[in-house]
Amino acid sequence: MESENAAGVVIEGLSLAYDTADVLKGVDLRIEPGEFFTFLGPSGSGKSTLLRCVAGFGPRPRGRILIGGQEVTHLPPWRRNVGMVFQSYALWPHMTVYRNVAFGLEERRVPSAEIPKRVEAALDMVGLWELADRRPSQLSGGQQQRVALARTIIVEPRVLLLDEPLSNLDANLRVQMRREILELQRKLKLTTIFVTHDQEEANTISDRIAVLDEGILQQVGSPMDLYDRPVNRFVADFLGTANLLDGGVEVAGEGTRFVAAGGLILPLGGEGHAPGDGRIAMFRPQDASISAAGPATATAFAGRVGHREFLGNLIRYTVAVDKDTSLMVDDTHQPGRRAFSVGDKVTVNVDMKHVQILPG
């Protein structure tokens, strides 16, 4: 069943308005053949709408969508040959598992002699052939999910679209299913677009991620790119915990420094920054370290532990360094290693080479 026809997807200047609200505002994207690509964003960001545009559902957007080089913007859903797995699975309750899976082949007028073999192969692939005679209501959530996958891949779509397919499963099953989906995708070499609001899910499964917010494409890149080099506050915050300080870049003698609104000053060193560069300084909690109260330096700030979260492998401290500014600092945890308590006086050392200045 390996897909010979994995196709790339190109989205050009896609905009969509419902009534008066703009849901998508000029999205441009290029998804490579065989890629596992994710639309990541909070609810209302337009990620599901964008996916539905690719599938052909909803009002016709402005702009163009090309699949495998062919423009499909004007095509109805049933002429696009893209496979979609719905969030609710959308298995038809009046049909057995077998009939559900066979549906797409029947609609494509596949010779009836060929259908049983292909249904068996598809159900085998998801390990559910023995449940072929059951009704969807007799299946568990994970099984329904697999049937929905089988029903979609059996028609050998050019692109596989997954609309938050794991959101209805419990945590353990979710981890297992996302591995299964990834394995299946690699085996079939299917171009896949996955929609989720869960950054961990996106990071673990994707080749590349497009982050969306308020209908605007914020950034596209590999999971590590986005985490390490976010282009703005939204991406920095959405892909993980970050210290985000508002302020501005100023000239200080030879180099530059960042002055936060609360008065905290971060020396930025000589090159790469100029006044007016950006208004936010960003670094991750693991880019700082915590130690018992000691002498303050330019990059070591005295403060008091305001809050402590034990996360297993590490402890995340929130340290108030002045009246308006708190910094989050991670400290690895091992049995017997010293831990600080709320109220302790400490020093926070910021590793300046990881501090990034973002425009906004």
């Binding site: 893209v82 496979g83 609710s88 959308a90 009046h94 549906f103 028609v155």
Partner: protein
């Protein structure tokens, strides 16, 4: 342990009272009717001779075939009314969809036989339409001729059952059901045939079997249209003209019950294991699409035609109630309010009797309905399910059958103090109405209770409330909407009931509205006042329904967050 045992006493007492009521006034009379049907009228021995006699009589054979034919045709014709209305309003962006759905339900709030007279005047041999047809084109159409008339009147009256059930089924189909089919290559008619239609089918079958059952049991309409060769009217005529001892009435009753059960069985089979409510959180039912101008015109044409037709009994009744003389003419000769004055001055007891009977019956229904629902869903009493089954079983018992059963069973029983047979005391009418409408109230109460998370009750108990106080302070207030809905359905349908009351009214001062209208409509001179009384009935039922609907909606919006607690998560 002590609390657990003590906690069972209340429910057990409730079960005893409700169970006894159902046993005496539902099970006993029905069993009695069936028993008599198999009894030799002379010797009292068990026999099949009555059934043999029944099938040897050509009138009864003809009546059976007529009843089946009329019920089946009524399903076909009412489907023709309901399908377009349901489909257009759920499927397309259609202005006035809510208005259409509301207007479509109006026929239900009038006894079908009341509309029959108005239909005769509009569509009968010498009715308005045929007079016009004859004048303009020189031909007439026998709309109301014999069985046609019964079919038309019943279809107009009962099609809302299909409309309601089918619309609900269509609205419950999640959009993703259709979208996933489109995604896999289905579209247009194939999509409809393979996905939408099968998913809506259970709703349609449920509505259709209800129509079949109601039409099969109705006696008012055929009697008023002077069609006597059908089963239910025959049962009534045998008992009322030949007497309570005549076995044929009982044989017919058994046959009516069998067909009722068959219709319900069909609906049960259609719905079994097909919990097709596929709607997801936030999903919006079927995809609605805009219509092209010519499609829009065509759709509105069809809808307006159907609405005019199904509302024609109401128009006709209105004209009749205000008309002076209306005979062999397109419209009444003149207009007057005399009929209303006459009704108010001389026939007011019909209205007050109806309010009393239907009110009491509905009150009994919601009390027992709430009790049964609570016992079934919140206690572990042994045999609690049977209470539910027996109460619901009343659906399968045609009104005539219950009436005959009451006459047979309670005629010998003299009520102390007033010294009169129970079967001819007005209270028996209330009891009959309560039994017949119990299923409606029970369904509403059960649905309301099932929406309340057990957690809400546990929270009250955790804070120190006893079972009884939890029921009073948490369960009943949260069920209020459902209880009111149950009261209204029971009240509105009891107010226009005729099949049972026609057998149980022993003197005119005890008679309710429906019976009064029936009496008036028998004579040409009584039609005007009868129509006025009919309009009064429609107004009463209409106002109660509207007011309670508003009440329920207000409750629903107030309590939305509490009721949507997801069970089992």
């Amino acid at each position: 342990m002590y609390a657990a045992i003590r906690g069972q006493w209340g429910p057990a007492a409730v079960v005893a009272v409700v169970g006894l009521f159902l046993l005496v006034f539902l099970v006993l009379p029905v069993v009695n009717v069936i028993y008599v049907a198999f009894q030799d009228p002379n010797t009292g021995a068990l026999t099949l001779i009555n059934f043999v006699d029944f099938f040897r009589t050509s009138l009864f054979r003809e009546s059976s075939i007529n009843s089946l034919y009329v019920a089946a045709m009524a399903v076909v014709v009412s489907s023709c009314f309901a399908l377009p209305l349901a489909y257009f309003t759920t499927r397309f962006n259609f202005k006035g969809a809510i208005l259409i759905q509301t207007l479509g339900i109006i026929p239900l709030i009038m006894p079908p036989f009341v509309g029959a007279v108005a239909m005769l005047l509009l569509l009968g041999e010498n009715g308005s339409i045929n007079l016009l047809l004859d004048e303009w084109f020189g031909f007439t159409v026998p709309f109301m001729e014999g069985l046609n008339g019964v079919i038309l009147v019943e279809s107009i009256h009962y099609f809302p059952f299909i409309l309601i059930n089918l619309s609900a089924a269509l609205n419950n189909i999640d959009r993703s059901m259709e979208e996933s089919a489109q995604n896999l290559g289905a579209s247009g008619l194939r999509l409809f045939r393979r996905i939408v239609f099968p998913l809506a089918m259970p709703g349609y079958v449920a509505g259709a079997s209800l129509v079949f059952l109601k039409v099969f049991d109705d006696i008012g309409t055929p009697l008023l249209l002077n069609v006597n060769n059908m089963l239910a009217p025959q049962a009534y005529l045998r008992i009322s003209s030949i007497g309570i001892a005549d076995p044929m009435g009982y044989v017919i009753s058994v046959i009516l019950v069998i067909f009722s059960l068959l219709a319900l069985w069909t609906s049960f089979l259609a719905l079994r294991g097909k919990d097709y409510a596929t709607l997801q959180k936030g999903g919006g039912g079927l995809m609605k699409r805009d219509l092209r101008p010519w499609e829009k015109a065509a759709c509105y044409g069809v809808v307006i035609f159907i609405l005019l037709l199904v509302l024609s009994p109401h128009f006709g009744l209105m004209l009749l109630s205000f008309g002076t003389i209306w005979s062999f003419s397109v419209l009444p000769d003149g207009y007057t309010t005399a009929h209303y004055l006459q009704v108010v001055s001389s026939s007011f007891q019909f209205v007050s009797n109806t309010l009393l009977y239907a009110g009491l019956a509905a009150a009994i229904d919601v009390c027992f309905g709430t009790a049964i629902a609570y016992v079934v869903w919140r206690t572990k009493l042994i045999g609690r399910q049977w209470l539910d089954y027996i109460a619901m079983g009343a659906v399968a018992i045609p009104g005539v059958v219950l009436g005959i059963g009451y006459l047979r069973t309670f005629y010998e029983f003299n009520v102390p103090i007033i010294d009169k047979p129970l079967a001819s005391w007005w209270v028996i009418i209330v009891v009959a109405l309560a039994i017949r409408r119990m299923p409606y109230a029970l369904r509403a109460c059960t649905a309301a209770l099932q929406q309340i998370s057990v957690m809400l009750e546990e929270a009250a108990e955790n804070l120190g409330a006893t079972k009884a106080r939890t029921v009073r302070r948490v369960v009943i207030p949260l069920m209020a909407g459902g209880i009111v809905a149950g009261f209204v359905t029971s009240f509105a349908t009891a107010a226009v009931e005729l099949s049972t009351t026609i057998m149980l009214v022993s003197q005119e001062s005890d008679a309710p509205l429906a019976f009064g209208i029936y009496e008036f409509m028998q004579s040409a001179a009584g039609r005007g006042p009868g129509a006025a009384l009919g309009i009064v009935a429609v107004v009463i039922v209409g106002i109660t329904t509207y007011v309670s609907h508003r009440f329920i909606q207000r409750k629903a919006t107030q309590r939305a967050p509490a009721v949507t607690v997801v069970p089992g998560v």
